[in-house]
Symmetry: D2
Subunit: 286 residues, 4 copies
């Protein structure tokens, strides 16, 4: 995590493991004049899949060329690879409803320089956070979602996201389920925060469920959204202890802190190219 | 939790809340010469139920009389009450199978003086821990459980528990489901440790389930056993962070520490009369 | 913590323990028509000091009378008591310098209704947060502090605090040491957040100290300010795990979350009359 | 941490960073027919030091040759390296006094197969744990330590450690300070558990110190012993929340669990060759 001076390249690579793979990748980098700053790799022993995150400094040259060359090289290994330049900051959008805690948290962390990327717009099915968004100097798109005309709303959302060249969507307590069609069309990852320790209490009103069950810890889960509700690959989870003295209101209040922490950590890791999706799971090179 | 010199009486009381209840209870204690050392109360605002744990020192007098008098007093308030003397140490039994981590942990904590009660025997459906049990100087009852003759085994278990005048049964990774009939007949609480963060991953092989789902925290849950598997009132839960580098074996190893901690804390609290059951939930006066 | 409908009175009482004290207090409440909703008490076994927090609902009557009557009653027991009405919201001030994370966090939690009190002004030795403060609709007092004219600055601070009838001062990463003289004159509690797990790394640049020492957890401590730097009674502490991959910048970033959580929890507890100071320690009735 | 089938070699390497170092190491392994299973590296940006832990499977051949060849190769890079074979289990000794919780915990974890190494003997300045040690089938050396004849005792300790070909000493609450002379002569690492969150409460009676200070979390620290008391490189730290209801006895009891967890984790990591010492700090490749 230590930030480094100057520009670096970060690659995420994964694929069927093969002998000598680490040597081949590090040689490729060395031969082009790069110097590895961090490298972390993992091998799934059951599935025999190889995962690597490698970050290197490089002599001044054309970065687009470098990116293309690396992707070609990854293909030649039968691996899928993704390359990012530390200088380049991807744009992302927030989707919100009425709750404002993750909304403020995301924007304030972005302004504090915590994220390796930039919030470019806020989309909401309500007007509640419009004034606040504008005070932060960000464009706000109010796109109401009516059950029978959901497709229409999603089309409008896609339009906005494309217009802003968004590479990530963050559902900061957006209280609508995104359709499978939308998730396919959006062509970028979508991170959601669910206010429970998944897989416990998936679905609606998880704090009510947790309160009724009498659990002694409540949680929050940041995950990539998939077509199945609250089922996508988990990036980060946090919990906090509760007891009988905590009413439902206390659970909701304490949960807000968990939601902020888990979601912001997940967004941070994603933007630093630390997360590889892998079936229903993630590899997080923290 | 601070231990106090000399003997004390501990009462757990609960029932429909009524005006002046705290005053009436504290007056009763004061009038009989007792001095309250700790008192903790809770009121469920939704259900209007009152819960109290109160601990007091008392002048030397007949404790059985005192106990009877208190129970009568509680009845006169329309409350259910339970009184315990700090000097009296209830006996409890361990039920085990082949895993030995909770078994050793329970016995060593008991020998270290952590429990306000005494282990009196070990019951198992296997012979694996027989020699170890005897080295600890405890009687071991090997009662095999065959599916088609489960009732017979449970009858034998009940016989042993009664013979030892057991007031609590601790399932220290006992890998059999106790029948509803047994739980009714045993007439004392049964505490179980489940190796997941309930209600997530109830049932068999929870670490396998957790590994397959890719959760970022694993947990353990100590709860009172009820007829429905892994569904009883939760006393304590603990979690620990895991990541993609942890294989199934690591989850199992890390989970062992959680199981020991959650189970021993639950047993400690139960034996100190800190736990009140309340529907599917518990109030823990820690 | 469960909030209750309607008004309640909350009393904090402490003093030398005496037989029947709980009965006397609960009788007093009962006789005036109050009904106890929560009560928590503690007895320091070594020092024989009694501490109680009791919250009760009361029939409609003059609350000022009730408060005076209670304080008189406490005095008659030889105890010191403090009474608060749940309806009454104390005013508090933020003191800040340049860091804005605790500043935003305090104000957003206040606006979210988490605090049982109201921020009334912001005082700073710098201009950095002036525009932000005004956007939040709060008055900002820029009072520069020059070493050789510190007394002058403190006099001006006291003037502002009095003008706003402040009952609590929150040092939200205010980077100046308050003089003993100021702390005496201000006549209300001052809560500070120190960015280490006290007593480790008291004084300046605690994250640098922690990084140099190679600790595996970093912390934050919210405490009442006293004349001795970083030495006052601790209200709340939080920690988070770090490792060799975390540079100084990561420690500072991770620490910001700890500071926000520990400080806001301490302020919340203080405003709900849950904290009793007791030598260099606190009793927190959470 | 995922365990792997078959034998592996594990290398820890560190030294001044140089371009192409990762490529050179992975090439060396590849050329000798090895296949990297895990590799984790770190670069200290301030000090420009490179650290790597790499684990690889290798074709059947003479392992001693392989080890010598690797060490030579490391030297040729100007690095210091250490190689271990997963099959080879180093021997280690426990040093204890009267407390038995870490003692039992270490031995039971060893018997459960958690450690990649073997306890070979127990040394104590008291007789308290002699019978227990023998029950576990381990030799016990009672070496009393009298202040004025400490050197004599340490000579005897060294003799025992050498006789058992010990490669690690674990101070499992051994209540004597080892002299700088001893630490030099012993020629193997010594891991100690201190019962506080260092650097807070170094020295004697840390739980008493913590209780007097009124901290809200207590801790335990596993570290390599150095000549300066409680000052060596920290391997692992754990904390647990406490409150005003916890007396000194509760802190001691709760602390026992922290001590067991922190010490066993440190020993586990050390034995798996995951720890590199680095000034007063450690790099732990977990």
């Amino acid at each position: 995590m230590t930030s480094t001076d100057g520009d670096t390249l970060v690659a995420l690579i994964s694929g069927t493991d093969q002998p000598g793979i680490v040597a081949r990748i590090s040689n490729w980098i060395f031969e082009r004049g790069g110097n590895i700053i961090h490298a972390d790799q993992h091998r799934d022993q059951e599935e025999e899949i190889f995962f690597q995150r490698v970050e290197w400094s490089h002599p001044a040259r054309d970065l687009d060329d470098e990116g293309r060359a690396f992707e070609e090289f990854a293909r030649s290994l039968g691996m899928s690879g993704k390359l990012a330049y530390s200088r380049r900051r991807p744009k992302f959008a927030l989707m919100v409803s009425k709750f404002n805690h993750c909304f403020h948290d995301q924007i304030l962390r972005w302004k504090a320089g915590d994220f390796h990327g930039d919030i470019t717009c806020v989309i909401s099915n309500h007007r509640d956070l419009e004034a606040e968004t504008e005070r932060y100097g960000l464009p706000y798109y109010h796109i109401p979602v009516v059950a029978e005309r959901k497709r229409e709303a999603e089309l409008r959302q896609l339009e906005v996201l494309r217009e802003h060249e968004v590479e990530l969507v963050v559902m900061a307590r957006y209280m609508q389920v995104l359709s499978g069609w939308f998730l396919e069309e959006v062509q970028c990852p979508v991170i959601n925060i669910h206010h429970s320790f998944l897989p416990a209490f998936a679905g609606g009103r998880p704090y009510h469920q947790a309160h009724a069950r009498g659990v002694k810890l409540i949680g929050a889960t940041a995950h990539y959204a998939t077509e199945v509700l609250d089922d996508g690959p988990i990036i980060q989870q946090d919990v906090v202890r509760v007891n009988h003295r905590h009413g439902l209101g206390d659970l909701i209040r304490k949960g807000r802190d968990l939601e902020k922490l888990a979601l912001s950590q997940a967004v941070m890791w994603h933007l630093e190219n630390r997360v590889l999706i892998y079936g229903r799971k993630t590899v997080v090179f923290d």
